[in-house]
Amino acid sequence: MSGRKVSRKARAVLVLLVLTMLAPLLAGCWDIRFLDRMGIVFAVAVDDDLSGKHKYKVTVQVVLPQNVTGGIGGGQGQPVTTFTETGDTLFEALRKMTAMTSRRLYFSHTQLLIIGEQAARKGIWPLLDLIDRNPEVRTGILLLIAKGGRAEKLLETTTMMEQIPVQQIRYAVNTNESAWSQVYEVTAQDVIRDAVHNWKQSAIPAITLSGEADAGNDRGNVDKIKPDVVPRLTTMGILRDGKLIGYMTPKESRGLSWMYGKFKNTIVKVGCPAADTPGNLIVEILSNRVRIHARKKAGKELPEIVIDLHAQGSISEINCPDVNVMNEQTFKDVSRLTEQAVRQEIEQTINKLQQKFKSDALGWSTVIYKDQAKTWKKLQDDWVSYFPQTPHRMEIEIDVTGAGLRAKSIVK
């Protein structure tokens, strides 16, 4: 009896063993992809096709890992290469590239989608469908507009600080957002989300080449201490219905960051507290919190947008004589000045968006939709014409405390 029991168990184990060994054969290694058979695409640039045959001219920047130095295998050549192809859609152009690439292009690590200005003016929505639909491409990739030029040029420019040019651009956006905040990161996902209702309009950071645009294509550019050309972030580009309509000025662009509370850290330049004194004083903003509400106004059709901004900062540079940081009043004065400066920045931003661009890149539509759902129903269909008239009120409170390690400035 026990003998049979054991043999049945043994049989079960044997069958299981055979099955396990067969499983790999059956699966045929499923969708295995060999790392050394992939071309890792770091960035995609889209321009309009100048020849007019196709709609887009797409450039991809592919990393050549063996040339990325550091550790074993660091080679001599360029760390990246580009391929360019035309097509009527993004995917068509990308797949046509297989005529040139020895490896299958791989998009999971793609970090940037740079759109040439001309292409952006014609509309960016057609480019984003693939990004959202294809499981391989991350929707978190950053969008950039190549201001006043062609996106492909940006991918063909060597950079100094990062070996891979795309990394330089990508981290520049990040660094700028957290320390100065003239631009902030906008991902494909953000734009896709905006596009669903098309109430809120998108803003996308712009980038340009500073220097001789054509000098960046070889190592000569980075062999110099001062490179001939570097990619340089400019300001936010404003879209309406998925089409680029213009750019903000640097101050307005930062006003937009203020409204979204995007930055970790930025600085505000204000005049000296004492009247008629030349010079400046820099306040570093260390934390901020923004709340935007829509409040119904009695007797008015449009609700009022209330921007409630609290920030903390400290004086980090004093180029004024006679600023006494030992005096509490000084901080109050500086706080008031900072509030004014910030108010001005934001005011300019709102003004530009309402009057010139007539594009709700501020997201007020969503604010009203959330706070005043009934009112929004009435406004929704004609929001384009309501938006420029929407009133707003700012409640800004900035506490400036602390003045760094030094008390009295040496500036006389």
């Binding site: 043999s7 168990k9 499983a23 060999f34 790392l35 890992p65 990325v68």
Partner: protein, 534 residues
Amino acid sequence: MIDIVLPRKKAANNKQNRRDEATKPHMQPYEGLPIDVSLQQALERIKGELGESADLIIRELAIGEANPIPAAVIYIQGLIDDLRMNDHILAPLQLAVLTPPSLHADQTVEELKKELIHVGNIENIAYWKEAYQSLLIGSVLLFVEGLGQVIAAGVIGGPKRDVTEPSTNLVIRGPREGFTESIRTNTSLIRRKIRSPKLWLEQLTLGEITQTPIGIMYIQGLADESIVQEVRTRLKAISIDGVLESGYIEELISDQKYTPFPTIHHNERPDVIAAGLLEGRVAILVDGTPFVLLVPAVLNVFFQAAEDYYQRYDIASFLRMLRFVSFLIALTLPSIYVAIIGYHQEMIPTPLLLKLAAQREGVPLPAFVEAFLMEVVFEVLREAVVRMPSAVGNTISIVGGLVIGQSVVEAGFVSPAVVIIVSLTAISSFVSPAYNLAIAARLLRFLLLIAAASLGFFGVALIVLFLILHLSSLKSFGIPYLKPFAPFFWQDLKDTFMRVPLWRMHERPQVLGHRNPVRESTDPDESQGRNKSR
């Protein structure tokens, strides 16, 4: 199906029969055979039975002065302590000035025992089977003409290894002694740790030919009686030619035969065994090996090291967690690497991907083959080092480390990442305090590797799921293997991922389900002098 099963069953039966034939003659014929009354006959018989073996010593003598009785002292050279035999058995017998006792058997025996044999451990034996057994354990047999009985005096001696520091389960802080090959030494080592009359030792003999003494040790009142009974039953069911190591027993009495996971704990440290006994476990000692078995053993036990309890609870808890993590690394790291490289490239942080891709550039083998080969190479190296004479061992490690580690990478056959992965895995597998659990990880690693190569993380998840199911189906002497995790015992978690302070472990583990739950009642405040300030 039946066609396949039948022949196999037949074969098994044949084997069974053959084994019975082989083992039976060894002790069976002596069963119930009485000792011959005639001394000469008895001596002839014993000589014949032992094939006149050279180490069988028969010393004939006469007891008494006036009317001497012929007698013989018989022993196996090397098994007994010569000096003690001379002083306490031979000398008194030869110097005896006894009045000739009547040849009434019982009286003679009593007389002899009372007056002439100055040894503590004495028994009367009336049958040949027992006589042979005690002769071969190391007793001196005294045959007396006309008695029909044998007096066996235990003066076990001969070469024996000293108690030394064990070579496995090393500790930085803790007792240095380890078990030896002698069961008696081993029981004494345990007794010296637990001086309780309730520490009980049962002894039996296993192995039809080897007649190996086996000891079952437990603390009466702490150990669950049903477990002790189960141990007895299982041990008695064993029928085998020889028991040369406790591994034989372990394999024969395990609950589940087909599993890579050990369900019986073994250790060569008396303190570990004593701790197990105090928790209510049962120890099985086997003569001839320093490895003592401890049952029941749940998975958690294999992560506990002796030192956990000798050093502070904070570092002990940290090490405990480290061991669990290392076990997981040893089990899964190569498969995770293969799965990520082959299927889930999107999961790797970009800079790491670039590094890995750069390493993979120009490597001729797929990641799986690479990892698999390197794992096999490592296993070969490890086995070589274990089996080689220790003088050559260093050469192996140099050749292994240098040739495999460096040259293979420099030649571009294997990417450096795989070498790192394999070494990390190897080191992690040595963290485990229980070597037999590390073996489970060692074997399953290959299974996981194949699954990862064919199905990616999906395959790894499948195998891990299968393993969890398998683990929860295991039992050790009726105790679920995953206790106290499943079934869940909150109280017992104190000694799993963490080792809480001793003053928080008031109760014995419920895992064993015994009757006497309270282990200590130290009031931490008092014992640590916090109240003494006044």
